[in-house]
């Protein structure tokens, strides 16, 4: 099974969700909720990636393979650094009582890796050819607009006290939602050029 192939991604998704389910039962009270949440998040992300790899035809991305490899490498490195930063940041914030400036510094630890993810995306979009650039532009515009509408709807529901979503989670999930909507929009937009 090839690394990054749909079955491999599905297997990793299953493993992450299984770990999320099993760990709290094997080690009661010793596994923080955030770890379980991260494992479920990882599982959902990998399952989505498997679905997209499986359903999307390769022409969805016309970038040269060298460029795609560079993009994948940069994204993987940044996301690994992000995962480590989240763990370190949460661990230290829970472990120690710190002053506000130091808490802010620790809380912002995962931001630089995410900035590198965005840098990788910008570098990729700048280096693809003009038709792919148009596909990316349309996809990111539609994806962002969809997430904005969804957030606005969520905001109205929250103001009317119909839902009660914690504000920190709502803010943290903006970028992942945009990335997911961008991917789905791209799969639809690309069909117009095939």
């Amino acid at each position: 099974m090839k690394i990054g192939s749909p079955p491999m991604l599905a297997l990793q998704a299953g493993a992450a969700v299984a770990l999320g389910l099993l760990l709290p039962r094997l080690l009661p009270d010793r596994v923080p909720d955030v770890v379980v949440g991260l494992l479920f998040g990882l599982g959902i992300g990998l399952a989505l990636a498997a679905l997209m790899r499986w359903r999307l035809p390769p022409p969805c991305d016309t970038a040269p393979s060298e460029l795609r490899r560079r993009y994948t490498r940069e994204i993987l490195l940044a996301m690994t650094a992000y995962a480590v930063a989240v763990f370190v940041s949460l661990f230290l914030l829970r472990r120690f009582e710190l002053d506000a400036p130091l808490r802010a510094l620790l809380a912002l630890l995962p931001v630089p890796p995410i900035a590198f993810v965005m840098r990788a995306m910008v570098r990729y979009i700048r280096d693809v050819d003009e038709m792919q650039q148009r596909i990316e532009l349309e996809a990111v515009s539609i994806g962002t607009a969809l997430v904005c509408v969804a957030y606005m709807a969520g905001g109205f529901l929250q103001a009317a006290k119909v839902i009660d979503v914690p504000s920190a989670s709502a803010m943290i999930w903006v970028f992942p939602f945009i990335c997911a909507a961008y991917g789905v929009a791209k799969a639809i937009v690309v069909r117009r050029y095939q």
Binding site: T62, A63, P64, D129, M131, Y193, Q194
Partner: protein, 65 residues
């Protein structure tokens, strides 16, 4: 926008991939250009015309009047 790209490419005996390489775009972009699904930017249209030794209006046929 319609164009004579496929005919011009066939004249030269190039594949879509070969033309793509000469224009520094992807093969999918050449395919989308040939089928009229994508209109090139002005710089790319000039590159295409120059590559075949033609004027832009000899390669691309604008829609409408």
């Amino acid at each position: 926008m319609k164009n004579h790209l496929r005919a011009l490419r066939d004249e030269q005996g190039w594949s879509q991939g070969e033309l793509a390489e000469r224009l520094d775009v992807s093969r999918q972009t050449v395919n989308a250009l040939e089928t009229g699904k994508y209109d090139p930017s002005l710089p790319l249209a000039f590159r295409i015309a120059r590559l075949f030794g033609r004027r832009i209006e000899d390669v691309f046929i604008p829609d409408g009047p």
